[in-house]
């Protein structure tokens, strides 16, 4: 040790290398909003046209489900068997990596393929589920000089290849405002006269666009590919098509069809920014991909493209997850720095000279550095939770240094003034001082960390998310002991100087401290002196504890984890019926106008999209704090519109599938599926009638959907097949399908003037508005032309009932969601529903079960329950080991309930929520708050035997320990204040954590200093104490 402290150069070199490694690690860490721990979710689907849902389930489904459920990595399996398709939603456990999930899903898919008939197995498709709506980058492209069409023509060929190279992207496109299609309008009657069915024309066209390879020919050294070129070449597509011969009679396409360039119907969408049509770049990330790097790559691609594009073409990001994540993390980094500064200032105010403050504060950056290195090594990245952990630890980290330094001072003060500059003496003295506190510093650090260990061993969402926070606290805090024991003494040795307070500020703070100490001692004396006062105090605290848990805690809002703040709202409008984009456009643009009128001034932009089957607004507000007001106003504005299902959510680019359970969940099991269906339908009408919930739906849906069955007149079809072998029911189906497809059947993609256009075959001259129109379609048979009606008879039938299964069990689930600001009332609403449902005539075989609306919350709490109890036990065991007495360890433990009182009050007063983070706060709090009790008790037991009266012993301990307890508590509390305030986008997420620790420490700090002496008074006999061995801390 002498050698270590005496060779500062070596230590400084090591420290310098260490810092360099830390900075390198920090710069190399990837960035994301939440820890990159997921819960992979895959969807598998396949078609089984030949089976009914019941038969397929019995023959194959059940076996497949059982096999999948026996896979240990799979957590839940939801299956739905609809009239023609089955869907499997496989959800893996928390913490299963994307690669592992991919491997498992490949196995599952090959298993399914091996089980089902060939035709079904060919149709199996599967994909990872997209994350939230936040996983998309949207930018607008504009030019002052050019039209949208022209801009697109220039931008697309340059930007699209660059975007295609980005690995995180699932899909990207520069929306083409004027996408062209080559339309072939087939006149059905003309075709029928020439004896051509639309199917034959389609097949011929498909073939005409394909070239045929005819091998290779070697001529001497040369080799030539032999080709039969396609009949239609891209450059001369229109004339080629016009003269395309369709059959042996030499009928040309031009005599049955018109060929024209048309705006591509299938691609059509309206995108508008602030009410004007815009050219939009749309890039959506693959499920689970890192959104920050996705955004970065997209922006790199844009920057790269801009170098090659004319300068008048500009880009403006509208929705940029990367920027958002960066800001959220940046705010937290500022909080970390702020926490460090606050801790330093508090240290300076409390301990005196600037030099000493710096010596103690050097710990903070070094702990960060160590944390970064360990994070890099263990594969953590920079996210809201890991940064939150660093910010939380900043204040705690100086404690060890403070203790070491204080001890060195104490020993130095004992030296005669003349010898203070003798290096050998100083060295010996420092070694002695450090040796004296080495063990307590190490154990107290360990005890703070030990409480987190059970947390790391749990599974579930809670641990997956909070694990990062716990790990970073451990990483940075563990190292603080090392710094305190090695670096602090080394520096201290080099700094020769007067440790006594020299500045005015310090004198003032010392004065203030003495004042507080005096006040405290005066208040403590009656507690120690009078038994009744002590009993009253203890009983009062117990009463307060019970009151806070039984009455205040239930009133605090609960959330699994608070979402980060967002300044952008997504309003999504889905049509209730089958309205297409054209039907929706007038409505949506009307609402756009309304939104722009009301919020145009509050919003940075309003981005509108109208697409088939869904429309949306993105409203970016200038001021994030307006979000809740605007959201609730928009809910009021839009909830009363007919024809659309409206959903309003804050935009948040999170890769993490944070559970978002419904406010009402009723599970209906037993009975036949038809019985269940009727009951669910009735239940839904009853629940909807109360109008408590914003949305009510069921799985499977009970809405009536109808099919139009065209039942073939088999005899007619057979007879026809005799005279025309190509004729079949399939041909009739193809005819009807093509005639009812308003966008035309896609034939092929083709390059045309540098752009990709699609070629489509569309049937004209047969407008189909009614069933009769469909049945009037002409079908040629020999010399005659008949109507479709001659071969089929129509029948409107309810669609086959879907079967819905949850982990292999037949079930119908009713779900309800309340308005956002009324979610606190979900218990009352669920109780109301339960009462209403109990009045329904429920068949005996069916059971109806209303889930606890907090089920998801409780299950995450339950997963933490074990670690909470384990942490409590660890604290008790540490107490036992240190003091060798159960009473003493229980006394130490009594700091925990006092912390809980503070925690509950803080959460309540600041309107925060009970969430996973506040429970983590509880664990952290337990670790820190018992430290004060340990310090107090340790001192008391060490010096108890030197006093005659118990009162004197307690008072002496109180007066000696007041200062260190006060200083360490203040640094920890004040350093956590920035987190407790919840600044920045990400602030909301860890705010409950900061609040609970700050509140808990305040209260436990104050209460421990009174309650522990009171408990000591009550549990120890007065007079000289000798039964318990003094100084149990051996």
């Amino acid at each position: 040790m002498h050698a270590l402290y005496n060779s500062p150069f070596r230590i400084f070199v090591v420290v310098a290398m260490f810092v360099a490694a830390g900075i390198a690690s920090a710069l190399n860490l990837s960035l994301s909003l939440y820890p990159e721990i997921g819960k992979p979710l895959y969807t598998i689907m396949a078609d089984y046209e030949d089976f009914t849902p019941e038969v397929f389930l019995r023959e194959y489904g059940e076996r497949i489900e059982n096999k999948i459920l026996s896979n240990v990595e799979v957590e839940t399996l939801k299956t739905e068997y609809t009239s023609q398709t089955f869907w499997l939603k496989v959800e893996f456990r928390w913490g299963v990596s994307r690669d592992a999930a991919k491997k498992e899903i490949d196995l599952i898919v090959s298993l399914i393929k091996s089980q089902v008939p060939r035709k079904v197995s060919d149709s199996v498709r599967y994909w990872p589920d997209q994350g939230t709506r936040g996983s998309v980058y949207i930018g607008s492209i504009y030019s002052q000089k050019r039209s949208m069409v022209e801009t697109h023509r220039i931008v697309e060929p340059i930007l699209e290849p660059l975007l295609e190279r980005i690995p995180e992207l699932d899909d990207s496109s520069v929306y083409n405002p004027n996408k062209q299609s080559l339309m072939i309008d087939l006149d059905l009657k003309k075709a029928a006269i020439h004896g051509l069915t639309p199917g034959q024309v389609y097949d011929r066209l498909e073939q005409a666009f394909k070239g045929i390879s005819a091998g290779r020919l070697r001529l001497g050294k040369e080799q030539m590919n032999v080709l039969i070129p396609p009949s239609v070449a891209a450059e001369t597509a229109v004339p080629d098509l016009q003269s395309l011969i369709l059959n042996e009679a030499g009928v040309k396409l031009s005599s049955v069809a018109a060929i024209r360039w048309a705006r591509g119907e299938g691609q059509y969408a309206i995108y508008r920014t602030d009410g004007t049509d815009s050219l939009i770049l749309w890039a959506s990330a693959e499920g689970g991909a890192n959104l920050k790097s996705m955004s970065d790559h997209v922006e790199e691609a844009i920057a790269e493209a801009q170098k090659r594009l004319p300068p008048d073409i500009e880009f403006r990001p509208l929705i940029d997850p990367g920027e958002y994540i960066e800001n959220a993390i940046l705010h937290l980094i500022i909080e970390v720095i702020l926490a460090a500064l606050i801790a330093t200032v508090v240290l300076f105010l409390c301990i005196g000279s600037l030099r000493n403050t710096i010596t103690a504060a050097i710990e903070i950056p070094l702990s960060l550095v160590s944390a970064f290195i360990l994070m890099k090594m263990s594969g953590l990245n920079i996210n809201l939770l890991s940064m939150g952990g660093l910010a939380l630890a900043a204040g705690m980290n100086v404690d060890a240094s403070v203790v070491v330094m204080e001890n060195i001072f104490r020993h130095m003060e004992s030296l005669p003034p003349g010898q203070q500059h003798d290096p050998r003496l100083r060295l010996n003295l420092i070694v002695t001082a450090v040796k004296e506190v080495a063990l307590p510093v190490a154990t107290s650090t360990l005890s703070t960390l030990a409480v987190f260990i059970p947390l790391l061993m749990t599974e579930h969402f809670a641990a997956a998310v909070l694990g990062n926070l716990a790990l970073t606290i451990i990483f940075s805090h563990a190292f603080s002991a090392v710094v305190a024991l090695i670096l602090v003494p080394t520096i201290r040795l080099k700094i020769a100087g007067d440790p006594a307070p020299t500045m005015l500020m310090t004198r003032m703070s010392t004065g203030l401290l003495s004042l507080l100490q005096g006040l405290y001692l005066r208040m403590l004396r009656p507690v120690v002196r009078h038994r009744m006062v002590a009993i009253t105090l203890v009983l009062g605290v117990i009463g307060l504890f019970i009151y806070s848990l039984g009455w205040i805690l239930p009133d605090i809002r609960r959330e699994i984890i608070s979402l980060p703040d967002s300044g952008t709202l997504i309003v999504s409008l889905r049509p209730t019926g089958q309205q297409t984009m054209h039907d929706m456009a007038p409505d949506i643009l009307g609402y756009e106008k309304e939104i722009l009128r009301k919020y145009g001034r509050d919003a940075t932009f309003v981005f509108t999209g109208v697409r088939n089957w869904n429309s949306f607004f993105y409203v970016r507000l200038n001021n994030r704090s307006e979000l809740d007001r605007v959201r609730s106003e928009l809910e009021d504005l839009l909830q009363d519109i007919p024809d659309y299902k409206v959903e309003i959510k804050p935009w948040s680019p999170s890769e993490l599938p944070i559970p978002d359970p419904p406010d009402l969940e009723v599970r209906v099991t037993g009975g036949t599926s038809a019985e269940r269906r009727e009951l669910v339908r009735e239940a839904i009408h009853t629940i909807k009638g109360e109008r408590l919930y914003l949305r009510v739906k069921s799985d499977p849906s009970v809405e009536d959907y109808f099919d139009l069955n065209l039942r073939p007149n088999d005899l007619a079809v057979f007879e026809l097949q005799q005279s025309d072998p190509t004729f079949s029911a399939e041909a009739l189906g193809q005819l009807a399908r093509m005639a009812t497809n308003p966008e035309g059947e896609w034939i092929t993609d083709m390059d045309h003037e540098g752009q990709t256009v699609d070629v489509r075959l569309k049937i004209v001259g047969a407008k189909i508005d009614t069933i009769d129109d469909l049945l009037a379609l002409p079908v040629r048979q020999g010399e005659q032309i008949l109507s479709l009606r001659s071969f089929v008879s129509p029948e409107r039938r309810p669609q086959g009932r879907a079967i819905y299964r949850d982990n292999g069990e037949d079930v119908s689930v009713i779900e309800g969601r309340l308005k956002k600001d009324e979610r606190d009332k979900k218990y009352a609403a669920a109780a109301q529903v339960q009462e209403l449902l109990s009045k329904l005539p429920i068949p005996e075989s069916i059971s109806l079960f209303t889930e606890d609306p907090d089920k998801e919350f409780l299950s995450s709490i339950n997963s933490l329950k074990a670690s909470l109890i384990a942490s409590g036990l660890i604290i008790l065991v540490i107490g036992l080991l240190q003091f060798g007495s159960l009473t003493a360890s229980l006394l130490v433990f009594s700091a925990v309930p006092m912390g809980i009182i503070g925690l509950v009050f803080a959460l309540y007063l600041f309107g925060s929520v009970v969430s996973l983070n506040s429970l983590l706060g509880l664990i952290l709090l337990a670790g820190i708050s018992v430290n004060n009790a340990i310090i107090f008790l340790d001192f008391f037991r060490r010096y108890r035997h030197t006093f005659h009266s118990l009162e004197d012993a307690i008072m002496d301990t109180a007066s000696k320990r007041f200062r260190p307890i006060f200083v360490t508590s203040m640094t920890t509390i004040l350093a956590m204040l920035p987190i407790a305030m919840g600044f920045g986008e990400g602030g909301k997420t860890i705010q409950p954590l900061g609040l609970s620790v700050v509140g808990g420490l305040w209260v436990s700090g104050i209460l421990t200093t009174f309650v522990i002496p009171a408990l000591l008074t009550l549990t120890h006999r007065s007079g000289r104490q000798s039964v318990d061995s003094p100084g149990g801390n051996r």
């Binding site: 009657k189 006269i193 117990i542 504890f545 019970i546 039984g550 805690l553 239930p554 909830q639 009363d640 519109i641 007919p642 024809d643 339908r681 009735e682 009408h685 909807k688 009638g689 109008r691 408590l692 919930y693 914003l694 005899l715 007879e719 005279s723 508005d769 009614t770 069933i771 009769d772 009037a776 002409p778 048979q781 005659q784 008949l786 109507s787 009606r789 001659s790 409107r796 308005k819 009324e822 606190d824 979900k826 009352a828 907090d854 409780l858 709490i861 909470l868 409590g872 009473t887 229980l890 433990f893 009594s894 309930p897 809980i900 549990t1019 006999r1021 007079g1023 000289r1024 000798s1026 039964v1027």
Partner: protein, 319 residues
Amino acid sequence: MPSEHQLVRWDIQIMRTCTRFIVCFSLLFSLQVGVFAPRGHSALPETVGLEKPGVWIETAAYSDLAEALTFPARVEANVKVQVASEINGNVVRVLKRIGDGVQPGDTIAMIRNLQTALDYKLYRLVAPKSTPRAGVLTGQPLTIGQRVSENELLAEIIDPTNLRITTLVPQADLTRIQRAVHMTFEMGDLNQPVTLISISPTIDTKTGSAPVTLALSETSKSNKMRLLAPGSYGQVRFELPSHRSITVPFEAVVTLSQNRRTLRLEKNGAIELRDVTLGRIRGERIEILEGLKPGDRIVVKSSSYLKEGDQVTVKENDQ
């Protein structure tokens, strides 16, 4: 000798036990009561939506429902005179071209006889007596030098102003089309009223359909321009007698249970549910057979879910 203060005092012993007990109990209590207990005393959420949801109303009324059946149909000539050669020989002269008007007795072509036994060398192909006044030559064009044989069909003469329409109607629809009140033949922009002439008493086994013949009225005048060529395709539309019934849009019907379909009616600002029996689909609407009277005010759309007795505001009257 144990001094007094070395004895464990009973009150301290009790106090210790109590403290331990209370600490343990309160911790358990905290976990059970605080975190896990439901929140008991919260109020019900406010109802979603406006106090009085907006409704869009339509007043029930009888309307004449026209139903129509459409079939592909072909134009045919009523008169078709066929001219055949009576000898074997070669065509030497063509006097009438395809599309030319032909009167009875007109020579269409000259054919040289190849059989020397006969007493004349040139044979005239003549339009027969049955040729209509407005006859027009159709069929395959004749070529000079073309070899023709005895009884070979060489020309057809039709009357383009005397046309009929034929179509094939599936068995199931035959009785329905007989009830048709109005029939039209449609081809492109052309729209001609037609009348039913005959329905074949036999069904073609191949197609399960019977040929139906219709007459074009006013053909002679309108077809001066020869818009209708025999052989061309269009469609025949049979409009069936309309019958009076009440229809409502699809979305107005609410399925309360499998056997219970209801309409929501608005009466003096309140909702009344009315069970109805549904009929057939008519385009985008559905026929109501029972349960609805003319004048009932039907809710077609509403801004939120409605149940019996709910108060509503009428947003729009679809009259």
